[in-house]
């Protein structure tokens, strides 16, 4: 079930009304939300609800066993087994075909080619996300950050809760489970915030992402040799905006829907293209994945604790696996390698300083005392702007590999970017404005959503209903026909 459809609208209206009717009965409410989440998931393919249930059961049982075991060695063994089991399920559905293809190529190269058991494996939607939820749950119990849940409903709801089930955000067990023990909250402030987030998310996805996808990006990446350098450059910037609006739009709707049901999710995006370094970019882009990779992969590998070389190695491994998580293809691995390399280079140049562009003298001062250190404001602004420009273009370079169907297409795209003599055929004022305005929106105030929500708060039920109804009507009228699936569904 896709968010921007009438089916979801009807489904959510029923879920909202019933869930709040059950607010005084915690167990019944949780059971209802689990059932609703399975209906939501089963709407796509009901057979995979068994996989979702199995994943939840495995992690619930592993959590109980880890909590019951006193010996560190046994706990380590159990958490290792649970992680391995989660990864085996993910690996089978997501990487089976890829690894078998690579193995077949390798055997052919050495003249050992033979028939391998290739299977048509359908990728269950959202498997990467619910696997990461499961791993987060068992590892946090192992680290004694959270207690193991006695009530299986809590674990089932944590793993299958429909707003975050198919494309995140990756919610931490330590953030979500305590909310299940408290009474869910809803007031007019949360209501207006939820509605504003849903409208902004729908606009990003239905209008910006869908126009850029259908009128610019898809054709460019389908046949890059047919277009000139300026067209391809606009197509590339267009893809940067499209993937941001597609994924952050989904996250906004998910966060808004969860808020309307009384649960708080942390933000998943924070104006990523205003980042002045790649490290800052990863603090603003898909925050739930980058912090997950940091806490469950980079830090266990040793993080930055064992010298420079090991830090660079750990960064590289983390980003390569982050790339592989997105899909079983060399293009994703190269995407991860570009990010890993640039992060390592940044660390080499700037060390562990949090900001690659130090704050200017006047900003570092407090109570009217001008600090002596830091560059003058003019120089700061220039360095910051240069940092934003360079970072954005590095991110865009990596997006070519992320979006291209294969390495050949990616190379064709890169080559095409250097051909500036051919005529410009696709850069219409509408598309150029869509890209520019979307990028400029990264530089508005970070608390814009909160401010809009605060203004709507006093409108009352009818006012909010009118804002929601006319907002959807406007989006519907402006958006291109049809509903394209979200990009992150494939991951």
């Amino acid at each position: 079930m896709l968010f921007p459809t009438l089916n979801f609208g009807i489904f959510f209206l029923v879920v909202f009304a019933v869930a709040w009717e059950l607010r005084g009965q915690a167990e019944a409410r949780k059971a209802f939300l689990v059932a609703a989440s399975y209906v939501f998931y089963g709407f796509w393919d009901w057979r995979f609800t068994a996989l979702l249930a199995a994943s939840s059961l495995i992690n619930y049982t592993a959590g109980r066993l880890i909590a019951m075991t006193g010996h560190d060695r046994d706990r380590r063994l159990l958490v290792g087994m649970a992680i391995a089991l989660n990864l085996v399920i993910l690996g089978f559905f997501k990487y089976y075909g890829f690894f078998l293809e690579q193995l077949s190529d390798l055997l052919d190269r050495y003249g050992l080619g033979r028939d391998l058991p290739f299977l048509e494996v359908i990728l269950p939607i959202g498997i990467s996300f619910f696997t990461f939820h499961g791993i987060s749950y068992v590892v946090d119990i192992y680290r004694r950050k959270i207690p193991a849940e006695r009530d299986p409903l809590n674990v089932f709801l944590y793993i299958s809760f429909f707003p975050q089930l198919v494309a995140g955000p990756i919610v931490r067990a330590s953030d979500f489970l305590p909310q299940l023990r408290a009474e869910p909250k809803l007031d007019h402030a949360i209501l207006s915030r939820g509605i504003v987030l849903i409208l902004i998310g729908l606009f990003k996805k239905m209008v910006i992402a869908n126009y850029l996808s259908t009128e610019l990006v898809d054709d460019m990446f389908f046949d890059p040799t047919s277009y000139s350098g300026p067209d391809l450059l606009l197509g590339l910037y267009g893809y940067a905006v499209q993937i941001y609006c597609d994924f952050s739009g989904y996250s906004d709707i998910a966060i808004g829907v969860a808020a309307l049901l009384g649960y708080h999710f942390k933000p998943n995006f924070n104006q990523p293209y205003r980042a002045a370094s790649l490290r800052e970019f990863w603090r603003r882009w898909h925050i739930s994945l980058s912090s997950w990779l940091r806490d469950y992969l980079y830090k266990p590998l040793g993080g930055s604790r064992h010298g420079r070389f090991n830090t660079y190695r750990n960064l590289m491994i983390t980003m390569l696996l982050g790339g592989l998580w997105h899909g079983a293809a060399w293009t994703f691995i190269i995407w991860g390698a570009i990010h890993g390399t640039v992060l390592a280079v940044e660390r080499m140049i700037f060390g562990t300083a949090r900001e690659t562009v130090p704050a200017p003298a006047v900003m570092a001062a407090g109570d009217g005392v001008v600090a002596a250190s830091g560059p003058p404001p003019g120089s700061y602004a220039l360095r910051k702007a240069l940092g934003v420009f360079v970072t954005f273009n590095i991110v865009c370079l990596a997006w070519i590999f992320f979006r291209a169907e294969s390495l050949d297409y990616a190379m064709q795209y890169l080559q095409g970017l250097t051909h500036w003599s051919s005529p410009v055929v696709r850069a219409t004022p509408f598309l150029a404005a869509l890209v520019m305005v979307s990028l400029a929106a990264h530089f508005v105030s970070e608390d814009l959503v909160e401010r809009i929500a605060a203004r709507l708060q006093g409108l009352g039920a009818l006012g909010l209903g009118a804002v929601l109804g006319f907002g959807i009507l406007l989006i519907w009228a402006v958006a291109p026909a049809g509903v394209a699936p979200f990009i992150y569904f494939q991951f």
Binding site: E215, L216, P423, L473, A477, V478
Partner: protein, 179 residues
């Protein structure tokens, strides 16, 4: 040593999963029995066994209930707005449902409703917005240049008339030929 740890694990498992739940169930039954007796006694004296709630609890619950009702009202109003101003969407949705016989009456109602909304002019708003978007999408660079040109300038006269060889990306106009 290893054997001992497995024995301890088994004992702990038994304690946690068999003995503890049984003890809890027994306690729960005892508690329920006591509550039942208390309720019976209070009923006989004409009193209620409900615990008294503080004003803060009641206020919070009332606020919560109001917000939930406001939410349902807002969603229903939004649905009504869409039903009136975007009756096309309702017709499209019910067209899929009409594939099964049970959905056909709903489709017939939706078609009638759509015609009625068309007659009273409720669909004009969506159409006007859509027309504006089509114009914006069809604009060429020469139109933009015309916006900033002086009244006598040739570019101003070309506004809305020029059809360059390229930059026609509207689906309904057909795609521009690849160079």
């Amino acid at each position: 040593m290893r054997h001992e740890s497995y024995t301890a694990f088994a004992l702990k498992f038994r304690e946690q999963y068999f003995l503890e739940p049984a003890r809890l169930a027994e306690e729960d039954a005892r508690r329920r029995e006591a509550a039942k007796r208390l309720r019976g006694a209070l009923k006989r004296r004409g009193k209620t066994a409900e615990p008294e709630r503080s004003d803060t609890d009641t206020d919070a619950e009332a606020r919560q209930r109001d917000a939930a009702r406001a939410g349902v009202a807002a969603f229903l109003l939004a649905a009504a707005i869409l039903l009136v101003f975007n009756s096309d969407g309702f017709t499209e949705y019910t067209r899929d449902l009409a594939e099964v016989s049970a959905g056909r009456p709903l489709y017939a109602v939706a078609v009638k409703w759509d015609a009625e909304m068309d007659r009273i002019g409720a669909k004009r708003l969506g159409v006007a917005v859509h027309r504006l978007v089509v114009q914006v999408r069809a604009a060429h660079w020469i139109d933009i240049a015309g916006l900033f040109a002086a009244p006598g300038d040739a570019r101003a006269a070309m506004r809305g008339k020029a059809v360059p060889a390229y930059t026609g990306s509207l689906p309904e106009q057909g795609r521009a030929p690849a160079p």
